[in-house]
Amino acid sequence: MKYVDEFRDPAKARALVKEITALYEKIPAAHQGPLQLMEFCGGHTHTIFRYGIEQLLPDWIELVHGPGCPVCVLPMGRVDDCVALAERPDVIFTTFGDAMRVPGSKKSLLQAKAEGADVRMVYSPMDALQLAKKHPDRQVIFFALGFETTMPSTALTVLQAEREGIENFSLFCNHITTVPTIKAILDSPDMRIDGFLAPGHVSMVVGEQPFQFVAQHYHRPIVITGFEPLDILQSIWMLLRQMADGRCEVENQYARVVASRGNTAGLQAIAQVFELREFFEWRGLGSIDHSGVRMRPEYARFDAEQKFSVPNLRITDPKSCQCGEVLKGAIRPWQCKVFGTGCTPETPMGALMVSSEGACAAYYNFGDLQELLQRREKEVVHA
């Protein structure tokens, strides 16, 4: 095994792979064609590529890399809205670093900054609030991004701004929700996912209960998973065990961090500040019902969307970009027409190439680029 020596406990990794391989006989569905297991979270995708986990698995298991990278699924129109807000002369626009290079229809935040907009990278929404205190004459907007993992942090920051009466601070809220998105994936006619690795740190906030519908209504096993390579192997094994036993349950492999009820204080803060949107637009996946949150009317004065006018235009993705098909597992990243040629981490066309958690960037950085491009060439010739 090529990569297993890099694992913290290579013997355990080998044993897990052996047990996984042995389960084939007990899973009839695996005999009909490869089982598709989706890791939802971009953090998992990153670990899977870094440690070459796909290469360790038998060929009757296929990992589908899900849409769980908030930067990757941000539609271009939203980036344009960020740029429009950032270019207002009275505004200091603050963002996590990984959103800086996401292309909008005309430019990224990084380009807007180069042209003179006051865009600043921050590590935490609390840092944005500090900036607002330091610059009472400016409007400080924080670009709130991420799944449930980061929602408590922005909600608590807004609550602190309210407590301290800081009126020149607001959120441009682009938080997205995990559960409706998994539901949309399960409802989509062109997908055939046999089991899910649920995101560990989203679960740390929301707990186990919100994932019950996957097992109960859709009859798919789902395992809450940690971020070490051994965690991922163990969770795959747990998923397969459920299939072999004919069970569909929510299991928690990451109990050392995830409490079954989630994080009570975090959930309270979320419920106080945010409410579900009717729908939210995703890059590549289109509009998904209830898949985003906005700020409750009581917090309108901290809501950049209500405080300032944003263009809020829908921009279609470039035609040659196939992020959508990749996100749905319909094609592999290297099968996209522009992968590694028109679209690279230095000059990304699609969002999946922007963040190191995106499936395309992962293939680009950890795969054998020349070999992948040759494989694509051959397929085009045969098609």
Binding site: C41, T150, L156, R256
Partner: protein, 92 residues
């Protein structure tokens, strides 16, 4: 953003606003501890805790061994330096 980084709470800065100083791989910065505090575990009890920090908020208490392991993984993934640099930037 979603991986988080382990650190140890070294002192309380502002218990009313739930702010504490957390040392993360040698870098100290203020971190909000509202999500790991409850009646059974008030802010005063948090000093010495190992926690998983996401974007400046302690989101979960973890044990020391888990913290060490996660730091190793982050270093291997190449995410540790990036995260540290971002934290230092924000601490200024």
């Amino acid at each position: 953003m979603c991986l988080g980084i382990p650190g140890q709470i070294v002192e309380l800065i502002d218990p009313e606003n739930m702010m504490a100083k957390v040392e993360v791989a040698g870098v100290k910065r203020p971190v909000n501890i509202a999500c790991i505090v409850d009646e059974a575990h008030p802010p005063e009890a948090c000093v010495g805790d190992w926690v998983l920090v996401h974007v400046g908020f302690a989101m979960s208490r973890i044990d020391h061994e888990e913290a060490e392991r996660t730091l190793e993984i982050l270093a291997e993934l190449g995410d540790l330096q990036e995260e540290q640099a971002a934290m230092q930037e924000g601490a200024r």
